[in-house]
Amino acid sequence: MGHVYSPLRKPLVDGDKSMHDITHDVCRSIEGKPTALWWYGFLVSAAVLGVFLVVTGWTLYEGIGVWGLNKTVGWGFDITNFVFWVGIGHAGTLISAVLHLFRQKWRTSINRSAEAMTLFAVVCAGLFPLIHMGRLWIGFLWVAPYPNLRGPLWVNFRSPLLWDVFAISTYLTISAVFWYIGLIPDLATVRDRAKHWARKLFYGTLAQGWNGSVRNWNHYEKAYMIFAGLATPLVFSVHSIVSMDFATSVIPGWHTTIFPPYFVAGAIFSGFGMVLTLLLIARKTMRLESYITLDHLESMGKVIILTGSMVGLAYGTEFFIAWYSGSIYESFAFINRATGPFAWSYWIMVSCNVISPQTLWFRKLRRNPWFLFILSIFVNIGMWFERFVIIVTSLHRDYLPSSWSYYYPTTIEVLELVGSFGLFFFLFFLFVRVMPAVAFGEVKGVLKMGKNYDPTGASAKKHVPHDDKPAEGTPEVSHA
């Protein structure tokens, strides 16, 4: 005894699982032979990754002249892809760090795969500015602050582009560390289930001799909290800094003070879109319906309405300020955005990002996996177009009408975008085969939640008026 579990709280795990069931359910997808569906997905993404390698190799060999950029539109698909993928990379840390600090226990069944998704998205993102430099092999000289061949000439620490280098590399490193720390106890479980010596060696090395000692859990619990505390401001800083690549310039359409919060909201929005896409596939193909329940999907749906509406508000604010500021350049940029030659991309963005998420006000739709899947694809498309709109429509008609132009991406650029999805899914498929895709150690910790769930609420009125308050006469409430 000693604990009381609120009858108001719904179970976080369906199907009355025991702790051993959880271990077994998660581990079976990395033990034994992979399913046909996994091979299919893995091979298709490997093929698409192959395309990416070929076109990127060609770009590096030939130079970025193979892209459709011109004197007026100097940033196109490459930087759009970069910002898009960085945005995708925000949901993982939000789920693992921010929701941890807010004690949102439902995060436990989705945080592992969301963190993995973060890592892979940031890998995809980081590649594009590197490719954009053209001469990748000397790129190090341009971004690393060290005394170099050009004499004591340093990188410019006042430039947001350099801040970005620090932000993205820190984010990648800390996300990887956070992910790995979370993995250690689960890897120890996998190690102890392993039969083959190679698996024992592989998982044993990664698990570092973890044996579940409470003396270690004592440090671990604190360290995990610290990582959540470090990663939370980090996740907000990263997309703020990415937005400063634009906001600190003097290009109408970019020179906007609301960019940092607007980009962060957009990043969370797009990240949750991608988390939904991936988890809906994962729960189906890996039979994780008991862990990634409709309640999880519904919660993510709510985050999508919230952030989608924030993004919508930001679009409106930009227009209002363009008019209210009285700056003719600013108003031109925005009227051109909505009605000019790139209006088609603007309206794709608005319909996908602002209009489509509003359907989630209906509970039935929030709890419909097929609907959510289609919606999440729309969100992904809309958020890619948001970055395209911001970058290209602000550039293509500048101060000098004689240099106005249009931007047509080349096949190479399109294939690089498609190919980056190949890289992303290739890494993700590899991850679900090699690492436990659900943080089952954490799921076990919340298993007891909702054990006394009483849908009628009758016993709730008798016993527990609020989740966090103990019933009368019981000494302690569960923190599990």
Binding site: W154, W163, Y180, R191, G209, Y220, E221, L230, I241
Partner: protein
């Protein structure tokens, strides 16, 4: 501390709601804990065992501070001392422009050192062989390991473990280690 190698007395539990009060009772009885083992983080079990707050926060704080210093110091050296550029008469030490990089390096160095500090405090490293006190301790069993020293009272300890629904109790040698390969056998033994 032990001059000759103590034996250990183990209690195996299946539920965190049993192991926590059992640990507390053992602590109240002044038994010496070798350790307690849990398959997941049970909040408050470390306190029940009498462990104090982890010192790892200091590692993060000091290393984070080091990151701040390196970032601010490095950037000041570069743009103030080593190669000052006069850009429209602006300050050679533009603090607001240095904040993003300073923040990122604080988090980066603080975070990476916290990871290394965690490994050091837990004394874990790649290649270390895990010593398990139950084949399923990383799956679904909790184990309380008490040192058999002069304060130890087996009858009392058995009584505490039984009162808290221990699944199994045994006296083992100092160098006892369970083999995870035995886990299958104990599955049949039955969790609730």
């Amino acid at each position: 501390m032990p001059k000759e190698k103590n034996k250990f007395f183990l209690g195996v539990f299946t539920d965190e709601d049993d192991v926590k009060p059992a640990t507390q009772a053992c602590a109240d009885a002044d038994f010496t804990f070798h350790d307690v083992f849990a398959p997941y983080e049970v909040h408050g079990l470390d306190r029940a065992m009498g462990l104090s707050q982890s010192k790892i926060t200091w590692v993060t704080f000091l290393c984070g501070l080091m990151g701040t210093t390196i970032a601010l110091g490095g950037m000041s050296y570069v743009s103030w001392w080593d190669w000052p550029l006069n850009i429209g008469g602006k300050s050679p030490f533009p603090l607001p422009a240095f904040i993003p990089v300073t923040f990122e390096l604080t988090v980066l160095i603080g975070g990476v050192c916290t990871m290394m500090g965690l490994f050091a405090l837990c004394r874990i490293f790649p290649g270390k062989k895990a010593r398990l006190f139950h084949p399923r301790v990383t799956d679904d069993r909790f184990v309380i390991v008490i040192e058999v020293d002069e304060d130890f009272d087996e009858a009392k300890c058995r009584e505490i473990f039984t009162r808290h629904n221990a699944e199994e109790m045994k006296l083992v040698d100092h160098d006892y280690a369970a083999d995870p390969a035995d886990a299958e056998a104990s599955v049949e033994g039955g969790a609730a």
